[in-house]
Symmetry: C2
Subunit: 197 residues, 2 copies
């Protein structure tokens, strides 16, 4: 099979993060501020929706991958920030799951709680911790559509061994939505509903 | 951005389908038998899990894309058959949504009801019809994990303008799972649960 590297999908401005291994962040706050900054830059460079995500090695805080919303840029509705970050982390580890017995565990940090698709993808990804900034309600209030997640989605993740932390730097994460709307960000997916995370 | 074509992920045996445009199938039964055959071939060629999917133009029955489970082959947990078929169809249409006012509408035909991730992805894909073979219960009975979809997932799709048809050639679709298990197909995703669609 010819190699298909999801990193190729990232816009050129992410080049500054190409030395992933040199970045370690040790608190939920710092990791969240990092993903919020990705979302801000994705707006500033007009390369996609106001969503950022990153995968970190849980204990060391080493950055494994970054993701931003690339739906419009890539022409594919799957490419939410979380999906991109997970795909790149798996590609770099050469493993279809980030959970490997005897190896470090990984966590996904996302500037907004996952949509219905990303919620399912998180379960298959092998991450063992999820850290969220803005809430689904914040996203919905700003006009974005998170889709029909189960009401008890956090419990469903926790049942499967995935620790969930919500509301980290929530106000900063919310402000990115407003910044996107103020900058007349493209509203995509006119059917069946509107914008997605 | 460098082009990244999801068709590159398909295994060589799918080359026989490269002339997508020459294939038109006019009934749910024929379209489902086609996707079940994809699942069978994916097992026979040992290129992935026992799941096949395809996107068709609803009225003409023209084939827009095919998909098979490529999780192990691609090293990415996102690559369920439905995800692959949707990504290729969007790539070929050069559109992040398959719903475009004034253009033909598209449907996804899948050998098994979607898992939690694919359920969400279907909502963002722009398809307006979903046709399923084996049920989630069939998949679960065979040892596969469909993840936590909302109990009323069909209603959630229909609310968003996506017609849903289930149980088409269900027995044939179920038999593919048994064939996979008999052939000692790889059981992946040992954590947090087992195999996914």
């Amino acid at each position: 099979m010819p190699p298909v590297c999801p990193e190729l999908l990232l816009p050129p401005w992410t080049g500054e993060y190409s030395e992933f291994d040199s970045c370690s962040l040790h608190s939920d706050h710092d990791r969240m501020q990092f993903t919020i900054e990705l979302a801000r830059k994705n707006i500033m460079h007009k390369t996609g929706g106001p969503f950022g995500a990153a995968v970190f090695e849980r204990n060391s805080g080493n950055l494994a991958s970054i993701g931003v919303n690339l739906v419009l840029r890539s022409g594919c509705s799957h490419n939410h920030a979380e999906m991109v970050a997970i795909a790149i982390a798996q590609h770099r580890l050469n493993s279809y799951t980030l959970y490997r017995s005897g190896y470090p565990q990984y966590e996904l940090v996302t500037s907004c709680e996952p949509c219905a698709m990303c919620f399912g993808a998180i379960i298959w990804s092998g991450i063992t911790r999820l850290v969220c900034g803005a809430s689904s309600a914040d996203a919905t209030a700003a006009g974005f559509d998170e889709g029909p997640k189960p009401a008890n989605w956090i419990e469903e993740l926790e049942k499967r061994g995935i620790e969930v932390v919500t509301g980290v730097s929530r106000n900063d994460a919310k402000m990115v939505f407003q910044h996107y709307l103020d900058s007349c960000g493209v509203i995509y997916n006119e059917h069946p509903l509107t914008i997605t995370g």
